[in-house]
Point group: C2
Chain length 374, copies 2
């Protein structure tokens, strides 16, 4: 393990729990893998929790140990960057149910000594947040300077403000939604059915055979990946360009660049992600409905909150379109919570929050810095 | 076979060919299954060809022999209906490559005596149209009163006007496009990969085992089905409503109605469609680019045309959005072709053209009737 702050500190902790899950299970112990960047100050008042998306991980601003790629938000987080590690202590933990070191279906069930597989309890976004709160307790952090997240990370940020209103001073919710729509659920169901239709899935008990349902998971990823991109972005990037040839082959190879790209996305994904984790996390997303957790009225979720909110959407995001962010902003207004809402323009669809976006940098940097003013 | 005109006439014909395909193959013989409604007049001037969509069939206005359901456009075609079988002789034939009686991967390769499987030649939309032209020759129909189609049927209508400009007096193109976009290709590639990932696909040679790749085909259908519906339509129909229960199960059964609906769509589809045909027809769609066939300029496709055109889109169709129809209308204008273009409002997305739509009825009925005026 390197202590070099450029690479973060690759760490994990086993917390005794128990963690009471929304499904009723008392889960323990709870493994949480995390990375931190920067230094926690003496009164533990400068912590920012960054929450990752569906297939994201804790390697926020440091090299991913499997892919060797830079951290997924290295652009945003680091010394002098919008989430400035010279000023703030930044934490990112792998969500409960995932497969990068935190407890999930691929980890060992202590009762059986075998991987959990589908015996792992179904979890919710709020359960992920509760596990993160346990990690903050472990760090002695009572209150977050901010919680920040895009996509599923934004749902966690919302859930943080709703579940632990005293522990959040500011929340940044990017390209997200307060509930999964029927179309969102439908796309996830396609992915789950693709995994479960793969005979290698074996009801989730594929770990011993070391032959995971890669084909099904790749199809699931391909379907989801389309929803992360805009139609215009796909057209600009690929259009109908052929893949390394002059003419169509009149066959079923990847004639078009977009086919080749999607196949690559599917194949690359199976090297870094567990199929069962994909089932569990998509389920958590589909179950997410913050209003439902608060008597059916979204504003109720924020009435006890002490946080300032920053809500950001992208105009070409059709997975969690601007209308979803507007719904959040309206509910925050109704609850009397200080909230700013901005729709940014980008050709890149949902994925825009992960890509170069000087406007997003300015919005986040400015919003966070404003929290330091007395 | 019933001669009762309420049920159409279930027929097929084997034409000697050869049919020269875009891929270079000389294909023969050519089986074409078709239905007709109404009576061909003495000078064979009252024929309307209706072209079906990807998974459609020739059972346009008569009961489907497998599902027992009414014809897919019984609403539109019949005595006194917008496509009035009292006035016109209406033909609908199963496209080349499909699996409802026309030559396709599930039919017998006369050379081997076995089903073609993946030895069937890759075909194009224009090849489908050429096969239909052979059927018209068989009927002694030199010129169509009109060619009408929605979705892939609209592409055939466009291809008819471009390929046989002397043989088309009018073309109705509904919820369609002059080329497949990168996003269209991407969704189809997900479907193809889902089928090919199913071990039961066996490289397309699954007919003898009578155990087709149903799971892969169902996933393909589920992914495609989402693109046929609008986000707003899904929300209105299903929202986050649970399936026959009060609370979430915290499991992986179909908790949400939209999951159950999609699973049903997948399962019902495999009973009536061949997985290899799905590969071939999606390939034909992805290959479709009418401009590319005419020197890169769409207007060129229509310069020799003698037809009037009616182009219709639906505002919530995100598979073939209004912009695609507008592109067609602009090209028709540039080519000096008489063309009307209308965007209709519907909550139902791409599928709107198959559903109750009095506006569509009026547009089609009015446009066709105008062709009878001297």
């Amino acid at each position: 393990m390197s202590d070099d702050p450029r690479f973060g500190l690759r760490r994990s902790v086993t917390l005794p729990g128990p963690l009471r899950l929304d499904g009723g299970v008392l889960f323990s112990p709870v493994d949480i893998a995390y990375e931190t960047y920067g230094t926690l100050n003496a009164d533990a008042s400068n912590a920012i929790l960054v929450c990752h998306a569906l297939t994201g991980d804790q390697h926020l601003a440091s090299e991913h140990p499997v892919t060797g790629k830079p951290g997924w938000w290295a652009r945003m987080v680091g010394p002098g960057k919008p989430i400035d590690t010279n000023r703030w202590f930044v934490i990112c933990s792998n969500v409960l149910g995932s497969c990068l070191g935190s407890s999930g279906p691929a980890t060992i069930n202590p009762v059986t000594g075998q991987p959990w597989g589908m015996q792992f309890p179904v979890i919710t976004i709020r359960d992920m947040v509760r596990a993160q709160a346990m990690l903050l307790d472990h760090f002695g952090i009572d209150r977050l300077f901010a919680v920040v997240g895009g996509s599923m990370g934004g749902m966690q940020a919302l859930s943080w403000a709703a579940t632990f209103p005293e522990r959040v001073r500011a929340a940044v919710v990017i390209a997200s939604a307060a509930r999964h729509s029927a179309q969102n659920i439908a796309f996830h169901e396609v992915g789950r059915q693709a995994i479960m239709a793969d005979p290698k899935w074996r009801g989730g008990a594929y770990y011993a055979a070391q032959d995971p349902p890669a084909a099904g998971l790749a199809v699931a990823r391909m379907a989801a990946h389309i929803t992360y991109l805009s139609e215009a972005g796909l057209t600009a990037k690929f259009g109908r360009k052929l893949q390394g040839r002059e003419a169509k082959t009149f066959g079923f190879d990847a004639d078009f660049q977009v086919e080749s790209y999607l196949r690559h996305q599917g194949l690359a994904f199976v090297d870094r992600f567990d199929a069962n984790s994909y089932l569990y996390i998509t389920r958590a997303l589909d179950y997410f409905d913050l209003a439902e957790e608060h008597g059916g009225l979204l504003a109720n979720a924020f009435r006890a909150s002490k946080a300032r909110f920053c809500v950001v959407s992208f105009d070409t995001d059709w997975l969690y379109p601007t209308a979803e962010s507007r719904t959040i902003a309206h509910a925050l207004n109704a609850a009397g919570a200080p909230a700013s809402f901005v729709e940014l323009s980008s050709p890149f669809g949902h994925d825009a929050f992960l890509l170069e976006s000087p406007e997003l940098d300015r919005v986040i940097g400015g919003f966070l810095a404003a929290g330091e003013r007395p």
